[in-house]
Symmetry: C2
Subunit: 437 residues, 2 copies
């Protein structure tokens, strides 16, 4: 018999239908024997009255793949408003071992349990609440693509196998490439800038690699970055596009995935039309005054300042996100652009959302000669090295004023849902201690 | 003055507007000095009458970034039906060196020129015809996602850093992972099967790595694979979904990108509603009869058979694509499923499209015990090894009948456009000889 999907069951009241899926729950009470089946569209309850049918499930565990044929009976107490009666059971794939992790109840996400969670990820993801995280993540990607398409961006794919370290830093994975050394891309930075010369507005949702030696709640060795770059813009337009993306994603994901979000007690995101901007020094001063801890000499945001400024912005600026602007040029990357009005500052912003930085935004230096000088002075880079030579061509042959941002998909998912650790928003997280499953 | 995009110029007839972009062409004829500007929306012609304005362009080359302000005059001979007169020129970014590759004329794609093409890719992509390939590629991805979403598939991201070789083969890149050995994913095979237990229907558009020692027109070390997997299906439904994806993509891309496709003289794809199926042995026999070359003992398709069967299917089956079915079980991978009606065959198909295999489709063995045996017998794999252990959990705890396919995005792009080499459909190709740009 043709398979009926579970979300369509109630529409077949009075008919005999077949549903297929995984055994999700058994409640064998002698007289009233209920089982719950899970398919990709939901859960359905079935009443098994015949003893021979019940016997087929003896010794079988949650996860057993079943085909159930029965009569649909409307019942408000059942999930979906209907259940199957007089059920014939066909065991498609028996599971004879008890699963190592619970599938039918919310899993514990305490920090001391996370390792167990990830160790059993292959099965734990079948838990509807866990799967919901990645339904939301898929929706975030789709919403981001929709927003970017509406703004005339073109998607591209850049290589992850590179001839050498680019942005610098020791955190780079190296591999043997037919006798030469190759590195894994730490970001699509150079390629997205190159693509400004081609499409003006380009983006990529791509894996990114950092050989992070620390095992914190924030760091992974592999993550998905939303890399966006746009030409013929100034810093103000760039920040508005970045903020527009966050607003658009945060609102659409509630339209498409309210069910999953509510299971995690996620809160709708509150953002004003224009995300407010605060100067780094201003935040240091406000924070120092409020907490008594003096950060006025700092050249970066401290993690506790990121949390504090979120609360501050929520209370005073009616926004759960804030751009931190006016960063000191002394700390800039070689491809950043100094502010024309004050060369001691750089046109960079960090987007702080719900307590963490989810994106770094900056205008790029687009003048070939100035960039060449900055490469030498700031990164100590050799313009003739394979890692820089091709990148520099884009500037030598004309790139307009441009800027962009990188936004971590897992961190965005984490914060939209309200998860504690970015790894909870990663299907199969990778860090210094974990390369499996 | 606010920037007007070039595709909007004609709508401003009689007004003074500003356009911004790259100098695409100069025709300085003394009396009539025309320049063409390129932005992300097209090309616009401008007439420069004032000598001082013209003087600003002296010594500047194609690629110079300009802002042009002038009066819009309708003119049918101009691209877009209008041009700018009385133009004031502002040089935003001067280009003082002549570009190493032509931007305003179609680039040569002869096999002896490809290395030059890729060496100058950073600038060559600004050529509108070249950029068009990647506009089409972006549209193919979008069309594939739309089709898969319409069929209830959920997108996921699997890790590319793996604990060991999985599908086997020597073509695997190895890297040092904090003192342990890691490998780069050769495919999302195991993860997409694992995701059947979570979403039933799952897909990923993801980079894939093969340490291919051969430098042919078909092989790259990094490419983008469309990995699709679906549960609760049989081989027939699986083939129909695979064919449905190809048909849907091939038709939508003509709706969205006819301009780019026509520039390459691409031909619309002819496919019947159901893509025909031919048995491997049948193809060998037809081919042997038609060509006199005996391939009846072969266990695979020869490249010239792939080309031949395309012509055969076009003529006799009215289709530019054909599934080759009934593959010998002697050649199967350990995760393939043998045909129940004839265990000497495996439920696998190769999708041949315009002369090459663009996808391998197969049903997977979903019975834990049988899979375990096949892993040992066929792959010589250790079920306790990190590369297999977690994968096998998915089966031990219940996976339904399922199957899927991997389709190469670059090869699909190549064939839809009609390019000779798959590398022409790759932004920055990687092979044994090339790790740049």
């Amino acid at each position: 018999m043709t398979r009926t999907l579970i979300h369509d069951v109630a529409a077949h009241s009075g008919e005999t239908i077949t549903i297929k899926g995984w055994l999700h729950k058994k409640r064998l009470l002698g007289g009233l024997n209920f089982i719950t089946l899970r398919d990709r569209t939901g859960l359905a309850q079935s009443l098994i009255q015949d003893k021979d049918e019940l016997e087929k499930l003896r010794g079988l565990h949650i996860g057993t793949v079943l085909s159930l044929t029965g009569m649909v009976v409307a019942d408000e107490r059942a999930p979906g408003g209907a259940e199957l009666h007089d059920v014939k059971v066909e065991v498609l794939v028996p599971v004879t071992d008890e699963p190592p992790i619970e599938i039918d109840k919310p899993l514990e996400h305490k920090s001391e349990n996370l390792d167990t969670l990830f160790e059993h990820r292959v099965i734990g993801l079948r838990n509807l609440q866990e799967a919901g995280v990645f339904k939301v993540q898929a929706a975030i990607k789709e919403a981001a693509r929709q927003y970017l398409a509406s703004q005339d961006f073109t998607e591209f794919n850049s290589p992850k196998l590179l001839p050498g370290a680019t942005e610098g830093g020791a955190e780079v994975f190296k591999l043997d490439y037919f006798g030469k050394e190759a590195t894994l891309a730490q970001s699509a930075q150079f390629y997205k800038q190159i693509m400004v010369g081609v499409f003006e507005r380009a983006y990529e949702i791509n894996p990114t690699y950092r050989a992070e030696l620390s095992a914190t709640t924030r760091h992974m060795t592999e993550f998905i970055q939303l890399d966006v770059e746009m030409g013929f813009v100034d810093f103000d337009e760039l920040l508005n596009t970045t903020g527009g993306l966050l607003s658009s994603v945060a609102s659409r994901v509630w339209d498409t995935n309210e069910t999953e979000l509510k299971k995690w007690n996620a809160q709708p995101v509150k953002l004003p039309e224009i995300i407010p901007r605060l100067a780094l020094q201003e935040v240091h001063e406000l924070y120092s005054k409020a907490t008594g801890e003096d950060t006025r000499g700092e050249k970066d945001m401290r993690p506790d300042e990121e949390r504090w400024v979120t609360e501050y912005a929520k209370k005073n600026l009616d926004s759960e996100a804030v751009f931190i602007v006016d960063w000191p040029a002394s700390e800039m990357k070689f491809y950043h652009k100094k502010s024309e009005s004050d060369p001691s500052l750089v046109e960079r912003a960090d987007l702080i959302f719900r307590g963490v930085e989810i994106a770094t935004v900056s205008m790029r230096e687009n003048r070939y000669d100035v960039l060449l000088q900055q490469l030498k002075d700031i990164a100590g880079g050799d313009p003739e090295a394979d890692g820089f030579r091709y990148y520099l061509q884009a500037f030598r042959y004309g790139l307009p004023a441009h800027g962009g941002f990188g936004m971590g998909l897992e961190r965005l998912t984490q914060k939209i849902i309200g998860l504690k650790n970015v790894k909870e928003a990663t299907l199969f997280p990778r860090d210094i201690n974990r390369l499996t499953p």
